[in-house]
């Protein structure tokens, strides 16, 4: 049947597993499975002592397969791969079976059932292991160059960081000027420098570095290749519409955001004196001394928060997220307004004030200086209208004044607008980056892999991945720098070999698989004069999407071949005891 020699280790996980799974009975049930020559239980399989024992068993018993039935591979996949490597067993001939999250933790009410399920799961793991073959990581040489898309504060800072680590950088910017939103900001918190000054500083640093090439009026039009070696076509929008090809090892996307533009009539937008937050900031920055709007002195300002953010899911294309920066920006603007004109009256109509961290001090300062905050309920938003004399009247039911309906006559109504994703259809199409529910670029994991995307070698940073303030944008830009440099500095990357492969003898190039692959990993190739499908090893994620669709059964997934899956199903179906 099989001449494999497999070692199986079943973990108590303290009592995490053994309190609900009878590990000794499980061991008894699987010890005579085909191929099994060692079957043991251990208090902690991940402990140094048990790891040592495994290494010893592998060597002494000449094991050619390893099954560890313990916790989730999310926790210890790499631990046991290392154990295999130390014993000179190919790490892809080990299988981890999860009998903690999938058995003991989920079936605390049914010990007998949990025990039987553990037997089935481990048998399937053994069956798969019986059919494993040694695999080697895919090694790809990398080019020490990076493309940074977008020259706002994040892109500029990323370019400098990369240059200082010895990378060559192509920095491309769609518009005529660099600096994005920040270049037009006045004094910023907490350093009190103007946005303009900060951008000037960054641009000076860029100029000092010879290994940064900056292109303005330039867009990315095409991307091919894969991590370590992308071929990029960029188009410079000058008289000749120059197209340039560049070759880079990784790509950092820092394309920023757009400011929400309210609909006409939304909180009075369109009425004379109703402005958005960016418009108000511009007005503040351009006025010294008196605050004037349309030739009239501003004495009373009403702010309405959460405009274009935290919208009701019933609204079409609702922006349901909190834009995170607008509370801070509005509160800060009100302080600047007091500085320009101490006698001004400012009323803030909010749903919740989200001035987190240091910004709480700003909120306090704004109140001390005389800002009054009124809380409205999302179901009863304030209304803005003009009265007969042409004055703006804002009416709100203020929860903090015990539900009193209050009317304020305002010279200016500031709609505190949030961030929306920038329009980037061409770029999204070229990079094949997936968007999240809110339309921003999606990282793999917001905490654990915050700047990586599903496309290996393509990173995102700044407000293109969701609302961020400028310091958060810079922090994420530097994270993307580190990630890029860490793959490019080594000169090569190693990728998982658990990917799809096409048997060219069977393939008839029907291109079913091409359309099914979410990562565009399948291309047209040649085999003995015939057209066949070829998997780009560096792009394939091993998701398995293509394999079942192939009408010729020509695709197999390494590590999860059809025969392995079938043998696992058979193993599941055996009598447990």
């Amino acid at each position: 049947m099989t001449n494999r020699r497999i070692g199986v280790y079943i973990c108590h996980c303290g009592g995490n597993i053994s309190d609900y799974v009878d590990v000794d009975r499980v061991r008894g049930a699987i010890k005579d499975e085909a191929g099994v020559v060692v079957a043991k239980t251990a208090m902690f399989t991940c402990s140094d002592a048990t790891q040592q024992e495994m290494v010893q068993d592998i060597n002494e018993q000449k094991l050619d397969g390893l099954v560890v039935a313990s916790c989730s591979p999310k926790l210890h996949l790499f631990t046991f791969r290392e154990v295999a490597k130390r014993a000179r067993l190919n790490p892809y001939q080990y299988t981890q079976v999860n009998i903690r999250e999938q058995c003991s933790w989920t079936h605390t009410d049914d010990k007998e059932g949990a025990t039987k399920k553990a037997v089935r799961l481990i048998r399937a793991g053994i069956a798969r292991t019986n059919l494993t073959e040694p695999l080697d990581p895919i090694k790809i040489d990398t080019v020490p160059k990076v493309l940074v898309v977008g020259a706002g504060i994040a892109g500029l800072r990323a370019a400098i960081g990369l240059a200082d680590l010895g990378m060559s950088v192509f920095l491309i910017e769609k518009s005529r000027d660099v600096g994005g939103w920040v270049k037009s900001f006045g004094k910023m918190y907490p350093h009190n420098k103007t946005g303009k000054k900060i951008i000037e500083q960054l641009v000076n640093e860029i100029k000092k570095r010879e290994n940064i090439t900056l292109f303005t009026n330039t867009e990315l039009v095409e991307k091919s290749g894969s991590i370590g070696n992308f071929n990029i076509k960029i188009r410079v929008d000058d008289q000749n519409h120059n197209e340039i090809n560049v070759n880079v090892g990784s790509i950092i996307t820092a394309t920023g955001f757009d400011s929400y533009r309210p609909e006409t009539g939304e909180f009075g937008y369109g009425l004379n004196g109703v402005v958005t937050l960016p418009e108000f900031k511009e007005l503040l920055d351009n006025s010294d001394g008196n605050l004037i709007y349309n030739g009239k002195e501003i004495k009373n300002i009403v702010y309405i928060y959460c405009v274009g953010s935290r919208q009701d899911s019933g609204v079409e294309n609702a922006k349901r997220y909190c834009s995170r920066y607008c509370c801070n920006a509005a509160v800060h603007s009100s302080i600047v307004a007091f500085e320009k004109k101490p006698k001004i009256h400012q009323f803030h109509l909010f749903r919740d004030i989200r001035t987190y961290g240091k910004f709480e001090l700003l909120y306090n300062r704004s109140r001390e200086k005389g800002s009054v905050y009124l809380k409205y309920d999302e179901n009863e938003p304030p209304t803005v209208e003009t009265d007969l004399s042409g004055k703006l009247r804002v009416t709100v039911r203020d929860i903090l004044t015990f539900g009193e309906e209050i009317t304020v006559q305002a010279d200016l109504v500031v709609l505190v607008t949030g961030m929306v994703p920038a329009k980037n259809d061409k770029l999204i199409d070229a990079l094949k980056l997936p968007l999240g529910r809110d339309g921003f670029f999606n990282e793999i994991h917001p905490k654990l892999r915050p700047v990586e995307t599903v496309v290996d070698g393509v990173f995102i940073c700044g407000a293109c991945q969701g609302p961020k303030n400028s310091s958060e944008s810079v922090a994420s830009a530097l994270a993307a720098v580190t990630q890029s440099a860490s793959i490019l500095k080594k000169g090569y990357v190693e990728l998982e070999p658990l990917i799809a492969s096409v048997n060219p003898e069977l393939c008839s190039w029907c291109d079913e698989c091409v359309n099914s692959c979410p990562y565009s990993a399948i291309e047209r190739g040649q085999y003995q004069g015939q057209e066949v499908a070829v998997v780009n090893k560096a792009v394939c994620k091993g998701c398995g999407g293509c394999a079942p669709l192939c009408p010729k059964d020509a695709i197999n997934l390494k590590g999860y071949t059809d025969s392995q899956i079938r043998s696992m199903i058979d193993a599941f179906l055996k009598e447990t005891f």
Binding site: K299, R367, T395, L400, T401, E405, T407, Q409
Partner: protein, 100 residues
Amino acid sequence: MALVNPSFIDEVKRSDEFNASACMNCGVCSAICPMGIELLPRKLFRYVLLGIGEKVLNNIEAIYSCLLCKMCEVNCPAKVHIAENVRSLRYVINKKVFKI
């Protein structure tokens, strides 16, 4: 419906003593007040901050029944100078309403 009257705010604030902007509406003061004055000080300060003069002037009796005992003040988590605020408000009312 109440109309905000910014000039009333300025009038009260002119004393510079009046400082209720730190108030976070927690209600500790009202719960603790031996006079059980429902209006004082939380609601009252809110009306003052918003310049809703009419609500303030409708409640002159309540404003004058405060003992200035500062029970509320020592317990206020936001360190609002409650008694001092009541005093400066009375000063404004004395001038405005009682003309003294």
